[in-house]
Symmetry: C2
Subunit: 216 residues, 2 copies
Amino acid sequence: MTAVRPRTRARRGEGSKLREVILDTAERLLIEARDADAVSMRAIADAVGVTPPSIYLHYADKEALIRAVCERSFAAFDEVVERAGNTTDDPVESLRRRARAYVQFGLDNPEQYRILFMGKAAGVADPIDLSNMPGSLAFLHLVEAVERAIGAGLLRPGLEPFLVATGLWAAAHGMTSLLISLPEFPWPDVDTLVDHVCESMTYGLGRPDQRKQAQP
Amino acid sequence: MTAVRPRTRARRGEGSKLREVILDTAERLLIEARDADAVSMRAIADAVGVTPPSIYLHYADKEALIRAVCERSFAAFDEVVERAGNTTDDPVESLRRRARAYVQFGLDNPEQYRILFMGKAAGVADPIDLSNMPGSLAFLHLVEAVERAIGAGLLRPGLEPFLVATGLWAAAHGMTSLLISLPEFPWPDVDTLVDHVCESMTYGLGRPDQRKQAQP
DNA sequence: CTGCTAAGTGAACGCCGTTAAGTGACAGGG
DNA sequence: CCCTGTCACTTAACGGCGTTCACTTAGCAG
């Protein structure tokens, strides 16, 4: 019962203003409910002050609306991570700051993160367009950051940047994902965890003197 | 249309046999649909050969039934990972084999994994009982495996086994989770990825000579 | 055979996402 | 000033969902 039909009809040619209002409202309800299934089209329509079919004038279906919400939330994702990475000149420290920013951003937008990165796989019928995903650009920038670290001689030469970036992404995502889905686990402090994992991946958990072989 | 009411009423005292039949059927439909939402109680009842209310004689609600399916699928999880870890005497190699087994088990039971480890956080009202989760025992065993590796002098002394185990878990989960949710990403071969991440976490991505400091 | 009770069924409730058809207001032309 | 087209929306409904309640039927003990 947030706003029950106070809305006045839009003027001619301004029908698409409703699109924005719906998006804002859906985002608010999604954040409040922390669960897309618990946000019904009817509830969104009610909160906007409109009837349910009006939503379909602007969004094909519920999934499209929810995805629009998530994509807008994550529009700033790449930029935030990039900015965090650019606060230092040390390419390895930069990677650590990127990881921190990644995890924090996910935790700040948990349901959106869950829908975008932890949802059910798209069917073979309508596969996700990876290139349009908000995270794609961020991943490309991560690959570049890895290349800089290798180029600076701080990571082992010969490492494949793509493979390294994929591994770093998986590690950051793993922390984010588990923190979102299993909050009752006795997690250490988030930054402690992120720093530990970055430290592990940079310097290794193994004793240097026990090192068997360093692959190229 | 898999089996439309061929079922004969159970004998007296054997009502709980239906419980197992429902569980088997729900598991089958869940695997087929790869999506719990797409498996309706009515569809399960139909496939069993029974009416929907009968399910509620054995399971409180749909969530309880689906969770029962997932928990049964993951009953063998800890054992599988342990067995994989016990195929070598080298404690570090053992960790790598555990990671491989973890990821593979998740990929073999993707929807169950997604529900158990990538679901929405339980509300504050009814928090998940972590100690009863199938993964809890596996995590404890992972902590022990880490302790053995430290005890054998293969990992840096002074490392906190719990923190290390949490980081390894996050890394393994991150790969599993992303592989499940974003199959259209150009993933490297799964074992290549797992091995790379394990290698990174063991020996580090950094050049040994560039090492700054080794935290205790 | 009778009666008890376990093992189900039938029918309904209120919700959901979605669609087809209808309506009313407003801008522009005559 | 009124007519008319069309844009912005509503009304009403469909089929499906999880779930509940009242009811019935079938197997067994006595």
